[in-house]
Symmetry: C2
Subunit: 701 residues, 2 copies
Amino acid sequence: MADAAVRPKKPATNKRTPAGGAPTAAHSAAETADARIDVDAVTDLLLGTWADTRREAREMIKDPAFWRVDGMPMAEHRERVLSQLHLLVQHGGSQRAFPKEYGGLDDNGANLAGFMELVLADPSLQIKSGVQWGLFGSAVYQLGTEKHHAEWLPGIIDLTIPGAFAMTETGHGSDVAAIGTTATYDPETEEFVIHTPFRGAWKDYLGNAALHGKAATVFAQLITGGVNYGVHCFFVPLRDDEGNFLPGIGGEDDGVKGGLNGIDNGRLHFDQVRVPRFNLLDRYGQVAADGSYTSDIDSPGRRFFTMLGALVQGRVSLDGAATTGTALALYIALTYANQRRQFDSGAGTDEIVLLDYGKHQRRLLPLLAQNYAQFFSNDELLKKFDDVFSGRGDTPEAREDLETLAAALKPLSTWNALSTIQEAREACGGSGFLAENRMVGLHQDLDVYVTFEGDNNVLLQLVGKRLLSDYAKQFKGKDAAALARYAVGHTAGKVFHGAGLRQLGQAVTDLGSTARSVELGLRADQQQELLTERVQQMVADVAGALRPASKLSPGEAAKVFNLHQAELIEAARAHGELLQWEAFTDGLDRVEDAGTRQVLTWLRDLFGLHLIEKHLAWYLIHGRLSTQRAAAVSRYIDRLTARLRPHAQDLVDAYGFAPEHVRAPIASGAEQARQDEARDYYAALHASGDAPVSEKSLKKR
Amino acid sequence: MADAAVRPKKPATNKRTPAGGAPTAAHSAAETADARIDVDAVTDLLLGTWADTRREAREMIKDPAFWRVDGMPMAEHRERVLSQLHLLVQHGGSQRAFPKEYGGLDDNGANLAGFMELVLADPSLQIKSGVQWGLFGSAVYQLGTEKHHAEWLPGIIDLTIPGAFAMTETGHGSDVAAIGTTATYDPETEEFVIHTPFRGAWKDYLGNAALHGKAATVFAQLITGGVNYGVHCFFVPLRDDEGNFLPGIGGEDDGVKGGLNGIDNGRLHFDQVRVPRFNLLDRYGQVAADGSYTSDIDSPGRRFFTMLGALVQGRVSLDGAATTGTALALYIALTYANQRRQFDSGAGTDEIVLLDYGKHQRRLLPLLAQNYAQFFSNDELLKKFDDVFSGRGDTPEAREDLETLAAALKPLSTWNALSTIQEAREACGGSGFLAENRMVGLHQDLDVYVTFEGDNNVLLQLVGKRLLSDYAKQFKGKDAAALARYAVGHTAGKVFHGAGLRQLGQAVTDLGSTARSVELGLRADQQQELLTERVQQMVADVAGALRPASKLSPGEAAKVFNLHQAELIEAARAHGELLQWEAFTDGLDRVEDAGTRQVLTWLRDLFGLHLIEKHLAWYLIHGRLSTQRAAAVSRYIDRLTARLRPHAQDLVDAYGFAPEHVRAPIASGAEQARQDEARDYYAALHASGDAPVSEKSLKKR
């Protein structure tokens, strides 16, 4: 089956009528004259700034040794993924992020771009790599100093030290500041004593903890001289060369999970485990031999967030991997929908190709538009990340912007991944439920992306708080006209690039005015106005609602905040959606080919209107759209999906996936062959004169 | 772990303050005086008409032999589930639906009620039982005649004949009428020749086909005398006693699936396989020895739908199983949310219990309300089913109503299952992703419920067409005032009971009038008006849009229909939601205890407002709600969720699950014990005087 599934298909070219009989040809004379996209150029656009690295990674994972094997028992799957990590090392896949003196390439953007693509091979491979090099390795690199790099980075890069990233505890997930594990300094022996004082303080859900980890970067409350200096990170050896836990260390296997079963997640506990003072990763806080504590960052809160911020790459990486995984599901479902036929129209014609159904277009094409937007916003995020981590643009403000941006985008792309993959799987019916067609496996593996590396709701709440605090700053001693400036201050130009923002064409107006014809649809500037105003208004509303809280006791203030928690999260989501929309729009500016630009503009419009439709009640309640105009939104979406339908295959071909990445029999052309065979059979039967007549036709006589 | 997971918890009683420290106690003095539900009485209410059978089934599956084992390799899981089916036979679980002369109990409602509960043990067990007795066995019973019953039912009931239900083909899922398999009568030998003429005609996704099936009920186009009489069902032996395919029969294993891997789904193909004339299940169509065809039902279309309708029980059963599976996920997530703490409020207090967060209430409690509604509507569906299949109320109209009702409810409950289980899993963070906590397994297994036994969108389209045709009938030669009558003609009273419908209190009015205070909220009659009017208006709108199509060619008419396909499906969904709401409301009438009635009324209101909020844009665009009133809907939901919060544990306790049904460590009380241990540790540390001071407090000095 695998062989059939990966057999080469037509190369992705810009032919008007693709080979292989795929029904992407124009449906009417008018459409034939329509624009078509330049598929290869769009692939370049989607692969973005680090396209070369992505292509390199995609080439590497054409090797079946990297592929997920459905139904493989957990124990075997875990060993397979470990061996894949060694293969990655051989291919140089683990070096990109690390400094040159340890064999690295010091290329942060490329590093994440390369890792994201591994999701196409096996998400367990992507995440286990992320544990080893993105979390464990990064903790040593980003939180440690040169002495630590020299000691451990070579072994981390070449995987002689597989490691766990021991931050999360059973009792504390996203609230890292409250973890219970302690690291108490003993000046007598110049050691830290690592200890988990109760069951809730056990480290949990850690990749590499159940089996393979030889060491861990353990986050613990640093206590010295009777003072708790807050969460710091320590390098703690876990197992001896035979794989046995070292004295004082124990653990449990997390067992079977909903997905990612190629990773050996587990729990760790520490009973007064002593590590040398050397093992404190002390870039942001140092303990001298006598136990005295020093740090360049005076504020404990800012120090904590600086340390956590150094690990932002996980979220950047998940945003990209979720986007690529979603693209794969869309490729499979739309390719199948372009070949599969079901039900005749009642007009005695052939059975209808699924994608010709209005409902089928409606359920899949807006998700395709959304996924395109995510490719553009992820590339912006990646550029921002590279800018900060390369040191070129490394300021505290830029770091804070990067963290907010990652916290805004990762929730949206990971949730969208689950809903899109699910819709794609349902759109393929029973065949979508077979593991061989990939979508159920993608859903299972990507499920946890929405709650790890920061629970999505917690991340959006962080973004919301940032929006609120910026809002408050803006108004400190200023007049009400600052509101408009505030709004544009949060567009993509500002957030992605820190300056040079796009000015709105005009002030807020009722877009429902009859002066503008509904038939013109909702143009780009109107989409932007609507999306921007929504963020602005929602933040202003929450800020207004919370204002009385400043005069209350902390307990009462918390209650008021709690009443508006859901709204604040919604505001943050609206902010993320705006960023995605603007990234897509900025991407359009880089398109030269007129046909491509036309089709992608429709797709961007579909994304914008899809967002507006999703929040239509809000626009109506807040008087931003008249009912007449609101009703037009859905009709315009219908028109756009119909217009985009002939381009659907081109648009998913532009993802640039090779058969070795897709591997789903239903998207291999097998369905087209079955349809052709069935139709040939009936044609031949008809021609032979042996075809039975239908009872119905008999009754009519 | 399993032992801890199933350790007995407090019995579900109606105590004001439950034992075990679960924080369901009232939060304020006012709340203490509030109503509380009578948990046992609510359990009776939810278990419905066949409560005794459900309790019997739940008692049986307390035996660990029935439980799903996470991570079990597919081959082993398949054998385990087969052995569970034999266990079921020993417990008499397979007899209820069948006639007394073959050892059955002739009790259709009880039969389905019992099977639904199996989802708590292992959904693979529920579905494989459904394949054997609900589909394969039912086909023989419902489509065959006495001679077939005598020949095969005993072996089907006692599982000496495990069988597959061979309807679906690779090339045709929900469009059964178009299947390619043929059964051509040969008068020479008095045999039918079963043949799959091309790959797309292979039977696919069939439980029992890959391994265990000794026979199959095969659906094929019946051809005799050169005439195709449409789809009929044939009993076809598949394998010999050694498990080898009989001559002419072949197949493939469907392999690993997204879930339900305890079932051996597979493909079957037939190469001119001959079966005796006897093997035509001929209740609705007979072929004489000479090949002449007879049927009591003259219309080929009506005959086809009658045969398919005889198999409606699968959909009824899925509606119930999805509802029960959803309840389990809600039990787990809400119990955990009532014990788990995360983040302090910033006011120096204890960390906050998850369910005290506004967002957490908002994400889970409306889904709880929805699930309650489904219990009530499923019981109505089950009663209707029992009425028809017992023969008490078996008229063509009642059958058609039953099929429409099942087609309306199954999509909603199965989709709700997936979205609710997913939300529940996310609400439990990382622990929700562990297989031991059940939710990921439930999602994986129930995933395919949304596309099998009729794809949900296809089913809703059927419902939509029924609504349209009823609408057309209503207006034939009548005045416009019939519109209002049409609307009430589709309320639950009519649909569930065929008569005696609830009259709307008053005519359609603008509910946004200032005369009614927003503060009064949206009362029951207003909820009903809004939900009912929406169905009416949507159907009327689609009917209006399709009216011109009657004058077009079939091809052009199909195009017009296609433009409105998505809207028609939405109208059908609105209809199903109304039915659920009305079933819940009818259920309230049966509640005597005032406290219970109060709390359940809030819950029903939450469900109603949740639906209205979901469709708020529609209500605004169509002038059914003023913007002021629309804005109040969300605020009222916030108030309701806060009001229901203290009752959440009681409401999920009322599902009546025993620890052997739940089996999730996080809902076993282990989390409460961890929280208590951590707080005791910190209290003792504080009391000892050895607690480190925080750096922050040091800086303040």
